[in-house]
Symmetry: D2
Subunit: 424 residues, 4 copies
């Protein structure tokens, strides 16, 4: 199976499999963005690319520049059209817009990044047996964003053939995993004139045929990378001369877990990664960790993040080391608008292949939250909807996959919902 060099002649399923096979993790989606942009322009859409799609200063969790450059070069080798790579410079993501009538502006947000994890390669995994498992070690579409991109493109195609009374804006967002790309796209300004926004997710441990009209109640979340820097010293001869970054990290971690519970609702704290490597007989000079906090509300999450920062600061003071922090990612909470939820329900009920329409609670976090809030803050309405994908294993696992029937079903529901919203 050769990499596609254009999406023009391929079905949505074929495109989904091509994207799955060339999975690109967050802020590395050069090939995905370039091929999508080329096809969208050929369909008559105005296309914004890369830095045009985000507030650059708000980007979080961007990989080191050499890794980004390597991903860009890989995209070139795997068929990404050069013209679009150049227009992107070193930032990924696409926004496409086309006006069909005077009616409202309807947005659709589909995220496009893969996860940083290895895909299963054995016979229990359909992408492996059918030849479209990721050819990129350590990168895998394990959360269905390949199908999201295909749905987004499908919607573009559908309206290119026959529009509606209004303007369509398609948001192909980078770096959803970790909550890194939502906030910068929300702050790009492109959402500000959107009257109604739909965001979509496939899978959800629901069968194909089930539509979730309102996927509710995500936790607010923030991930804080911390790097402590001290001074090395021989642990035998001069232990006092070191400034021990590991002791600082240890003091921080012990106290981070002890942040007081909050009387107003649920909070969470976790330290997922710690690394301190040095010659074994040297006082530790560098120690890094990733802290993750959550809150049932935005304020609760801010409480946790604020307390975490105080603790990191105190730990550094204790052990006379310096530190740097950077937000790896951040999401917030949102509430879907009943009116839009109702429209999605109506659209789903009107779609033949839909068997069941439900609402469902989120277990995790989503950075579409920032896009939804941006629209709502400016008077618009939104819902985060789901499309069952009959996924054989859980999201983020090595065996995640979706039944591609969910792509056409999602496409049908969304196009119908867009028309209804334009008429509402």
């Amino acid at each position: 199976m050769e990499p596609l060099t254009t999406f023009a002649d391929s079905s949505l399923s074929e495109i989904r499999r091509d994207l799955h096979r060339h999975a690109e993790a967050g802020w590395k989606e050069f090939r995905t963005s370039a091929l999508l942009a080329a096809e969208l322009e050929s369909l008559g859409y105005e296309v914004f690319l890369g830095e045009e799609t985000v507030d650059p200063d708000s980007r979080m969790g961007v990989p080191p520049s050499d890794e980004v450059a390597a991903a860009r070069e890989r995209a070139r080798e795997e068929g990404a059209p050069e013209e679009y790579l150049e227009r992107m410079d070193d930032v990924t993501g696409v926004i496409a817009t086309r006006t069909f009538g005077d009616g409202p502006t309807i947005g659709l947000r589909t995220d496009i990044d893969a996860l940083e994890r290895q895909e299963a390669m054995d016979d229990d995994h359909r992408p492996a047996t059918e030849g479209f498992a990721s050819v990129h070690p350590g990168e895998m579409h394990a959360c269905g964003h390949d199908a999201h991109a295909a749905i987004g493109l499908g919607v573009a195609r559908a309206f290119a053939e026959g529009g509606f009374d209004g303007t369509l804006k398609l948001f192909f967002q980078s770096a959803e995993e970790g909550g890194r790309g939502g906030k910068p796209m929300a702050e790009s300004g492109h959402l500000d004139d959107v009257d109604h926004l739909l965001a979509v997710h496939v899978g959800l441990d629901e069968p194909v045929g089930t539509v979730v009209s309102s996927y509710d109640g995500p936790l607010s979340n923030a991930k804080l990378d911390v790097a402590f820097s001290g001074a090395p010293a021989h642990a035998g001869g001069q232990p006092h001369a070191g400034r021990n970054a590991l002791q600082a990290a240890t003091a921080a971690i012990g106290n981070l877990y002890g942040i007081a519970r909050h009387g107003d609702g649920a909070t969470r704290i976790n330290v997922g990664r710690v690394n301190a490597d040095n010659a074994q007989n040297v006082i530790c000079e560098e120690a890094t960790m990733r802290v993750e906090v959550r809150g049932e509300t935005h304020d609760l999450n801010e409480y946790m993040l604020g307390r975490a920062r105080e603790i990191v600061d105190g730990a550094a003071t204790m052990h006379d080391v310096t530190y740097e922090t950077s937000l790896y990612g951040k999401t917030t909470t949102f509430e879907n608008d009943d009116a839009v939820v109702g429209v999605v329900e109506a659209a789903a009920n009107a779609t033949d292949s839909v068997e069941s329409v439900i609402t469902k609670e989120f277990g995790g976090s989503e950075d579409a939250s920032y896009l939804i809030r941006r629209v709502q803050e400016r008077g618009g309405t939104a819902t985060y909807l789901g499309v069952g994908g009959s996924n054989p294993d859980g999201h983020h696992t090595a065996y995640f996959d979706v039944d591609e029937a969910c792509i056409d079903l999602g496409l049908d529901v969304i196009t119908d919902a867009v028309r209804r919203l334009a008429e509402s």
Copy 2:
């Protein structure tokens, strides 16, 4: 046994027993100071009292003012002459000086405070069986400073009867226990013209008849009181609203013990006392602790003290609480001068009742260190000498006592040494 109201008619042993019976802990030695001052003036000495004997700003570990006031009132009730109490105001300690000739100024430092501990009251303890155990619950002369005061007064009496070619300065120092009174007396200026200083200790687990001409090698030591102050909150309803002083103290303690060992020599750290009391269902608002550091040298002690302060500061930052620190006490190291040691040896060898002259290593700390260093810094010389006391149990224990024969022996050696120093 009635409390003495004057020392004029009593022997040194009787005076020692009177002081033992009315033991006064550090910065509470009002009766001791007043009776000594009265007697010293009657012997022709110029007397400095209370604030005149110290740099007031350097006093450490001073008890709460109500306790000091109560001790002063108690002294009045137990026969301390009112005139001297008034001259002292609320600070204890006596310095007495008299010039007998043109020769050098010789100083003698004797400390006068008792310990804060309960004395044994049973038949195994001679002060109990012979009726001079402390009548003050929780205060006891368990380190022989009652005998030191008697020796100091004996030296004053001896030279009042027949002086030497020089000036005598007697330092009756308060609050040696904990290392609280030495530094402020050193910084009073009274030491600055002392040519030769003798400091004396009795007991030392040596028999009467043994003289220690050089008691060597004390550890440097500092005691830091820390009080963390946060904010209370109901632990069930509003845990996040508290600022937890106990968590700060806990973070501090855990990291204090982890201060890096020093490549240049032995250091020590201990947290001897922690108290956090509050209603059981409230986030802890106040927590206090006493930190003790030591070092083989003055610099090693300063390293420990500096690191301890950083850790306390960081712990407070971590938990968003405030804190106050105060030095409860501090001692330093010193080295005795060979010349003075030699003079003491000669004096001891010339004293009939002396059977053995040795040198000995300190196990602990002494704030005479500051007086000795002050004299040496200005070109003088000094030694810290010991007089065996046949103490039946260890210093600081409930059964500590000395054979009063050590008083006269110490007196003889010291007066002889003073004369030799004046002539040297």
Copy 3:
């Protein structure tokens, strides 16, 4: 105002004031129990006293035996009838029962203990100005249990004059504060035949005239006392020879606050008290602390308690010290039965002096939970009801008081409810 030596000739308000004046903290209610028992027997009730009212092995948070003995002696001196003191031995509490007819057994639980806190003695506090403030330093009826006892006695008097078709059981429970007395009374067996149980509380920051028919949703709670025992050693000379109880306590506390939040609901952790006192230059031999955990449900509380025990155990292993734990108190959750709540509402609505009938959420914990659950487990029903007391300051504060009008109002509602329950 002389202490009463019998309740026979006094009004409920007078009795409440006598109890307030002679406040007895948990497991020390000897005078309260003896005077109540005497009056209840004279009213024709069968009375159970002391050990007969509890499962002795389940008692928690019992003070040291010398304190209990002193409280018993104090009760004697303050007029408690000797006969009843003897029958009680060293355990407090009263259960009184009388059968008036063949109908159901109706229970009423009123707790009788004071808090360990000092009462305000100034002119802003009515008990002080009117002469019935507690004469026992550090003990105060700051939660209205004096009024509870009066209401219970009032109910006994009311039915002694004219019963109902059933059996009345009155539970005058000791040591509710801290959750120490509920579980042992529940496990005494006396609850097992109760068909309907009422528990009552006054005050609740509601005005007199308001009845709370269902006081709901207490947190489950446990208080764990922990004592670590190590070995002392001189912190300068032999630090390695100590086994440091304070380091163990510190390790425990730091990690207790870090017990993982629970996905199923709210949990709480607090360490309210820590004490480690020793000579300042000695490695700490003893350290004690009181840990308090809570859970939104019984299981969540058990999760916290179990994790706390593991952490204490590990901390002791870490620092090679031993430890002992004892439950100072424990409460659980309960749900009031709608049927009984409805009866109380009906009775309240039928009572002239009642102006408002509401339900209210608990903020804290209650060991009536164990009595309520015991009754429910055996097929009975229950409610925890409240009677507004116009308390001028919050429960547990030094200025807590109630308007005694709440006593008669509570009495009226409860007697009516008992009759309705007997007929239901």
Copy 4:
């Protein structure tokens, strides 16, 4: 420069460079051992190989078996004679012995392993400019063991041409770095009949021409690898269901640094490496760390190691995780025997190229300590001697090198010392 396939035709300098170029880290010295064994057998020595040279159960810090297998395969590819690889199986190291006369048995210990570090490859480094820098990425002879092996082989050659009155035993020890190979070789039994043992080190920041007759006073040292294993759980949804290996490691580290200082002498503690990697939103399942302790004496080191084990055990209990520990390496202290030191001095003084004979203090640790102690325990004598190497940069750095003149100088001194010891 082709890899040698036999040492028969090469000079010691050539052999040293060949070994340097094919540096093999601890327990991977297959090529080194095989080539040495072949040459030693051809010189008439009886050769013990691999498992014959150690007590297999005492080996520490052995790499994973796949890494060992890969090193063995690499050795084959780089010219190690197959016959000797087979005789070694999967353990490295060589002992060679030959009896020349009836006199005493003289041992020489030379270690043969490289370090796990990258060698400098730039023009400032002679091995790079002259083409003998290590061709194995991440492995480098940065401590001169290549020269040690050459000296050992040179001694074998020298006596093969003309023996002495006694037996020669040559110990080519594996895995000295980290202190992993000394103890198992000591416990092989091969040392038990050695009358006099010499161990040799080159470099030492001394110029060629300087001989250190007694390299003294190493610290006792132990390295403990610890792996905590818990259970993962989603940090948002089920934090309570995890068993947090990182919290255990954190609790351990915080308390490890707090191990009490020892009154008998200097101790050290360091945690050099910590790794806990998992998906960022998952409670940490695995955490590993390397703990290093030291003591001025063997007993002080054992104290630290024992306390470290208790703390690790308690930390695991605290957080309900399991753990495994393994000693990565261990060294002890030793004292050189004056008689042997004197012989080395005499030999050095008799050697023309020697300009200076000194003694020197160790800064670090050495597992020759176990071999020296083994010999001494059985009545033999030993010294650890040094040969200046004019090393341009410090031991263990990327630019370490030695002037090969030290090989012949060392050879001369050692052969002379062996003859003198045989005659003594």
